[in-house]
Structure formats: C-alpha cells, structure tokens
C-alpha cells in the first residue's frame, strides 16, 4: 500500500492517493483538484485510478472529478447519488466496501454536511471535514454541531489511539491526540456555535 498526500491550493484542501503496489490499482480520496503534477505522479508510479472516495460533496473536495473522470474510468463513492452531475455509488453507515483492492469501512458522521462520511482503511481514517487536527468541521447551527460531536464521540473517537487521522484540511493527527486536545470536543462547544450562512468549505 502506498499513500500520497496532495495539498490543493484550491480551497487549501488535502487529497490522498492510495495505491496497491501489487495490482497497481489506486483510489483517490477527495480530489479537490486534479493537476498535471498529480497525473504525472500517478502515471510515473504505474497506478490506475479505479475509484474515488468522497468524504462529502463540498466543491473544494470534489472539483477535480471533472478532469479525473475524463482520464480514468473510476467509480465514485459518496453518500449522495450525484456529485457535479456524476453518478455515485451511494455508501451507507457501517458498510464495508471492496474498492481498488482495499477494504474500506464507511462511517457516517453528518453535521458539517448531511453527506459527511469517514472512510477507514486499515488504521487510517480519512475524516474529510468532520474532524481536523485540533478542531471539528464548521457547522451551520448548534443542532448540526451537536450531531457532529455526538457522531465523532460515538464512532470515531472510539477507535484505537494509534489510528491515524488524515483530514480534508490541515495537518494529520491521531485519534489519541484528538481525544485529548480537540477544541470542538470540549464540553459545551456545540452551544457556542451560532447559525452562520457565510461561505465555508
């Protein structure tokens, strides 16, 4: 298994490429953009992108689909049936997928968006915007904040301390570190959230 991180200047978001060194099949998590550099990297390593996993459908995490799907016949997995007009294989909470040779567990954690999911592969959690290093994803209301915090506590922070968190923005982390020092998981955090409708990613 090979894992590469790509920092997209469009929305300052992270994309991840996960490749199987035997079958040379790969999957991409959240292609916020799909650049020539990424293409060269994929081709240079002899990978074929067979699948795309979307943690949620905000534009900064999906815009690269338009280019990517012109090059690769990749199946798109998301918690919604269409993203940017592309049909998706709809995933649901608790499902275990076999994607590009990887076993992927789907964990639904709505709150940042209704379709937010976390993908777990081995000991790695692709958390999208649900959980970042030190903070949780922005929400539009205290209800959504509570929904997100409850989901994270029940399903994500119950994972092993050493599980790696690869978020949609910012640096990586571990479950142990987030359990101890994430601001969004402080008691009463959800009640501090005020309803905002400004642009967010």
């Amino acid at each position: 298994m090979k894992l590469y991180q790509h920092y997209s200047l469009y929305g300052f978001a992270n994309s991840y490429l996960l490749g199987d060194e035997v079958t040379r099949r790969a999957l991409i998590v959240d292609p916020g953009e799909f650049t020539v550099g990424m293409l060269n990297h994929i081709e240079g390593n002899g990978f074929y992108v067979a699948a795309v996993l979307l943690t949620h459908s905000h534009i900064h995490h999906v815009r690269g689909l338009k280019t990517l799907l012109k090059i690769y016949e990749a199946e798109v997995f998301a918690a919604t049936s269409k993203v940017l007009g592309f049909p998706c294989r709809v995933v649901s909470d608790g499902e275990r997928l076999a994607v590009a040779g990887f076993s992927v567990d789907v964990i639904s954690v709505p709150g940042h968006s209704p379709d937010s999911v976390v993908y777990k592969i081995d000991r790695i959690l692709f958390t999208g915007d649900a959980l970042h290093a030190g903070v949780i994803g922005r929400t539009l209301s205290p209800f959504n904040a509570r929904l997100l915090v409850d989901g994270l506590k029940a399903k994500i922070l119950s994972q092993d301390d050493g599980c790696i968190v690869l978020p949609g923005h910012g640096p990586p982390s571990t479950i142990g570190a987030e359990r101890r020092s994430n601001l969004g998981l402080e008691e009463g955090y959800a009640n501090k959230v005020t309803a905002t409708y400004d642009f967010f990613v």
Partner: protein, 199 residues
C-alpha cells in the same frame, strides 16, 4: 506510506516495532529490540514505513536522514540529532522529546500531538502542515522557520521563541503561553480565534 506490518501476536493490532515481527510490548527481548532499532536508524540514510513507537532512543546522530511515514508515537527521544533531516507523514504523538535538535529540518504533514517537547531547537526549518496540538513545549525555539498551515491548538508553551517565523495560516490557539516571543513573525496572518477558522 504508512504501510506498517502488524504485530505477529494474534489480536494485538499494533504495528510491528522497527524491522521486527512484533510490537515492542510483545518483543521477546525488549532491550535487544531497542538496540536493533537504534542500529537500524544509525545505519540507514532513510527509513520508510517503520514504527518506533514506544522506543527509548538516546544520544543518536540521525542528521541528514530521510523519514517517510515513520511512527515515533510514545517514544522517548533524548539528545537525538535530527539536524537537516527530512520528514514526511511522520508521527511523534505522545512522545517525550528532550534536548533534541530538529534544526534545518524539512518536515511536511507530520504530527507532534500531545508530545512533551523541552529544550529542542526547530530553528531554520520548514515545518509545513505540522500539528503540535496538545503538545507541551518548553525552553524551545522555532526561530526563522516556516510554519505554514501548522497548528498549535491547546498546546502549552513556556519559554518558547517563535521569532521571525512565517505564521501564514498557522492556528495559534494555545491553551496557555508563558514567555513566548513572536518578534518579527507575521502574527496577523495566523488564525488566533475560533471566528476565523478556515474550515
């Protein structure tokens, strides 16, 4: 990257330690495993997908090495020189890092979450997308470093110099800070309150 071999003991689930078959807890001879890990680190120019979780390393010179997807989680690092080294997707979460030199390193996408860092120099370094969340950092310096998109959330900083650093997109939300100097650093470009998170 991050393709650790699991511990050979059924039901353990932790990554195997260094080049061994088991994690450090299940190593038949802990001291021998630690000595082998030190020897492996000192003899190689680069380390990839290796776990040194829980290791106790002291007095090593690992300058100019390349570390890809290595884990030092919960390790104890004392008087270890990492000068001029390269780190990608490396984890030091919960580690005890004392009197070490990380100056002139190039670290990207790494985590020091919850680490205890004292008497450590990160001077003249590239520290991009690095998390220091919940870390207790004391008597240490980051002077003249690029900290772009790094995070100091709920960190405890005491006697720390962050002088002449690039703090663009840095989340500077420490739990407590005492005698921290940001002189000549672009603090206005850092995120210093929850209202301005870029999420």
């Amino acid at each position: 990257m991050q393709c650790f071999v699991p511990c050979a003991v059924d039901g353990c689930g932790k990554p195997a330690f260094a080049s061994g078959d088991t994690c450090l807890d299940h190593a038949p001879d802990r001291e021998a495993a630690l000595a082998a890990a030190s020897a492996l680190l000192e003899s190689s120019d680069s380390a990839r997908d290796l776990s040194f979780a829980g290791a106790a390393l002291e007095g090593l010179n690992l300058s100019g090495r390349r570390f890809y997807a290595c884990s030092f989680m919960g390790a104890s690092l004392r008087s270890v020189l990492f000068t001029n080294s390269i780190f990608r997707l490396c984890f030091f979460d919960g580690a005890l890092i004392d009197s070490c030199d990380f100056s002139r390193i190039d670290a990207q996408f790494c985590s020091f979450g919850g680490a205890t860092i004292s008497n450590v120099s990160f001077e003249n370094s590239e520290l991009l997308h690095v998390s220091f969340g919940g870390a207790a950092i004391s008597d240490s310096t980051f002077n003249k470093s690029n900290l772009y998109d790094s995070r100091f959330i709920r960190s405890v900083l005491k006697n720390v110099d962050i002088v002449d650093c690039d703090l663009k997109r840095v989340y500077m939300l420490p739990l407590k800070q005492d005698n921290v100097s940001y002189k000549y650093s672009n603090t206005m470009e850092a995120v210093r309150d929850l209202e301005h998170l870029y999420l």
